[in-house]
């Protein structure tokens, strides 16, 4: 293999190697390399349930989910680390963030440092101690290097993902290249036939004799990499995340650039394409996923494990339109804007009181359904920062007016990216008003560990036959209720939808049933 020979003869730094092998592409930018790392961090943070979001118009696959409600023996899906995770170095200095160390942990308190600025640090050496919830945890270093700057002091609350310290990392430590280039990767469909140790709650660190963590094995699956083909560079031959990323990257590079590499090796003859002749360069842009987008990756990865079914119905909103107009006419507060959503939310809560199974969560490990007491109804919001789902707590105890104000508060915070972790956690069911943007209806994916999600389309005025046989305009809204078929059956969801529908079509019934 030409590339293998080349690599053995010409050991270079990583950036030099990239530049030589892929002459037609620019050397990997910090962003592009960071993207690969970011994907890993997304996978590793997969149990972060701070952000729960629905997603529209996507297909689903069936897998068994994890649960965070009953005894969560989700060790097989534990993707945490007490090792710091670093972005790709820029000028040799790495921002080392606080990695996810536990389920639902959004932040930790820094208790003390074990190292100081200027100190040389070995791989796996303890850097600091943090506290999250019930545990104090030693955070160890991922890399060998020197501490250049300590960013936080003891007592600081550090959010997951926030930089803890900066390190000058040995390049050899960051990307330890094996002496042989591995074979080209064949794309593989991940095996979804059986969940990993879902019942026992204990994962096996070895697969076919290969030492690695569950997070690294999951990463290999995501990339379609057979982990047994990867040479581990960690201690005792352990396969590390860098080994998977490097293996995947080399496979991609070899697939895409082998032709140009051959050309280079045969005398530096570069044959420019037509577009480059005219100066048109369309470069790929790799965007590292952060914040809401990263959380959406995690939420949707969980969602595909749920066997969904979708129930679709049309709701006549003539009365709802009149009710909203009536609220607006009677509104004396310029700061309050009446929309359809609060009535839809309140009527949803009334329907949930009769069909509490839709306001529940399911534990795959214990095969239990927990009926949640509060109706914490999540509302999907599209913001400049991405999709976020804050929820209104205890809707059954709120009036429509109170819901209106709370909704406005959450919308304002969402736009400003200032939602608190409490605002976006403990939701029990999600409502997605995709119709506010457009579309007839959506096919939403459930926000695990909830069991149901409702997408409502735009209210459209269409002709309908009245009881007298004449045609009248009707404001019709299409709804799509996505449900977990392990918990809910079609009949239950249909009855629930009928119940909800009648409150919307006859809002006077809200007065009859509201406490």
């Amino acid at each position: 293999m030409i590339c293998r020979q080349f690599h053995q003869k010409n050991p270079r730094s990583l950036s030099q190697w990239w530049r030589f092998v892929s002459s037609a592409t620019a050397p990997p930018s910090r962003a592009s390399s960071a993207a690969a790392d970011s994907e890993l961090v997304s996978a590793i943070r997969a149990q972060d349930d701070i952000f729960k979001k629905p997603k529209m118009l996507f297909s689903s696959k069936n897998r068994c989910p994890e649960s965070s409600w009953s005894i969560p023996i989700g060790i097989s899906r534990c993707r945490f680390t007490t090792q710091t995770m670093a972005d790709v170095p820029f000028n040799g200095v790495v921002d080392v963030p606080l990695a996810q160390t536990g389920e639902g942990i959004a932040e930790c308190e820094l208790l003390k440092w074990f190292v100081q600025e200027g100190e040389q640090v070995e791989e796996f050496q303890p850097l600091c101690e943090v506290q999250s919830d019930k545990a104090t945890i030693e955070i160890t270093s991922r890399y060998k290097g020197r501490v250049s700057k300590v960013v936080h002091v003891p007592g600081d609350i550090v959010k997951v993902g926030e930089t803890l310290l900066k390190m000058v990392v040995d390049e050899d430590a960051l990307f330890s290249q094996p002496s042989e280039i591995l074979e080209v990767i064949k794309a593989q469909v991940p095996d979804v036939s059986k969940p990993e140790d879902a019942g026992s709650g204990l994962s096996k660190p070895k697969v076919g004799g290969v030492m690695s963590t569950p997070a690294v094995r999951n990463l290999a699956k995501q990339y379609g990499v057979n982990i047994e083909d990867v040479r581990g560079t960690g201690k005792e031959g352990r396969v590390l995340k860098e080994d998977i990323l490097a293996y995947a990257a080399r496979g991609g590079v070899l697939n895409e650039t082998s032709a140009s590499a051959n050309q280079n090796l045969e005398g530096d003859q570069i044959i420019p394409s037509i577009s480059s002749t005219y100066g048109w360069e369309y470069e790929d842009q790799t965007i590292p996923l952060r914040g809401f987008q990263r959380a959406m990756v995690k939420a949707m990865t969980l969602a595909v494990k749920i066997p969904h079914f979708h129930y679709v119905d049309e709701i006549n909103c003539n009365s709802l339109v009149e009710l909203k107009a009536s609220f607006q006419r009677a509104n004396s507060d310029a700061g309050v804007k009446h929309t359809f959503l609060p009535v839809l939310i309140k009527s949803l809560s009334l329907a949930l009181s009769k069909y509490p199974m839709l306001n529940s969560c399911f534990s795959d490990e214990s095969q239990e359904v927990t009926l949640k007491g509060s109706h914490n109804i999540g509302i999907a919001m599209a913001t400049p920062h991405g999709l976020v789902v804050p929820n209104i707590k205890k809707v059954q105890s709120l009036s429509i007016f109170e819901i209106t104000k709370e909704l406005a508060r959450l919308q304002e915070l969402a736009l400003a990216n200032k939602l608190s972790s409490d605002d976006i956690s403990r939701g029990t069911i999600t409502l997605s008003n995709i119709g506010a943007i457009g579309g007839k209806f959506g096919s939403p994916l459930i926000n695990a560990p909830e069991v149901s999600i409702i997408a409502i389309g735009r209210i459209q005025k269409v002709p309908q036959y009245g009881e007298d046989g004449n045609v009248y305009p009707a404001s019709i809204m299409t709804v799509n209720i996505g449900s977990d078929h392990r918990v809910l059956d079609g009949a239950t969801v249909a009855k629930f939808c009928n119940e909800w529908k009648q409150f919307i079509e006859k809002p006077e019934l809200l007065m009859l049933h509201t406490k």
Binding site: G74, I75, E138
Partner: protein, 281 residues
Amino acid sequence: MAASQARKAGLPIINLLRVKGMPILQQLHLEERLLRTSSQNWCIINDGTTRPTIVMGVSGKAKELLETDAVLRDEIPVIRRFTGGGTVIVDQGTIFVTFICNKDAISGLQSYPRPIMSWSSLIYKNMFQGIGEFSLRENDYVIGNHKFGGNAQSITKNRWVHHTSFLWDYEISNMGYLKMPTRVPEYRQARNHAEFICRLKEYMSRSDFIDGTMDSVASHFALRSLDADDIQNSSSQFEPSSRILTRQELGEEASMELVGTVSQISYMAAISSTCPTSKIA
């Protein structure tokens, strides 16, 4: 013989130390020393401590968590322990169970907070079959939705400690020293202390609980029973971090400096008589 049987069975070896009435500060010092200086696995069962003592987590703030005026008035010792978690008041009615293990002691168990918490609940789960609806609720052991055991952990590079204080019995009046914490588990649902917790003695006898715990530990490990005399403090250089807070740290006014000094001396004298910091005999 036990070691060979363990190897044959594939179970990790654990040293079981069962004591009664060990002062909680002494227990915490022992635990931290074993965590940081030992390479063996340990299970410590302390059947009740001595006088009522408040134990806060590593970053607990007395003013936020305690009714400090009452604590100072009644000279209740307040200890800040080396593990995370919340605040408890312990006394003779509290049973303590602690696990200190190497990170790879239990096959497949990842040394992170949640997996350890989940694993620990397996130790007690079977004991309550037919007795009560035991479960791990967020980070607490509950019967139904009443807490009877609180947990805290410390995870180091290669080892971890998970310790639990079980409410065998408690004085409701002692709960008056604790404020309602700002950070509470969701299932608490604004209940006060009395409505939130329950007494383990209403479900089983004290000896049944301790014996049942030891039997359960024996099913997960190969036990090697030790007593306090067997544990020599070989690491005389080790300085434990759990300590008793001073009166000033509890918020006593600085203007009462002279009186405070005198009261501090008497405070420390009062509690040191029952919370020795000397090495384990």
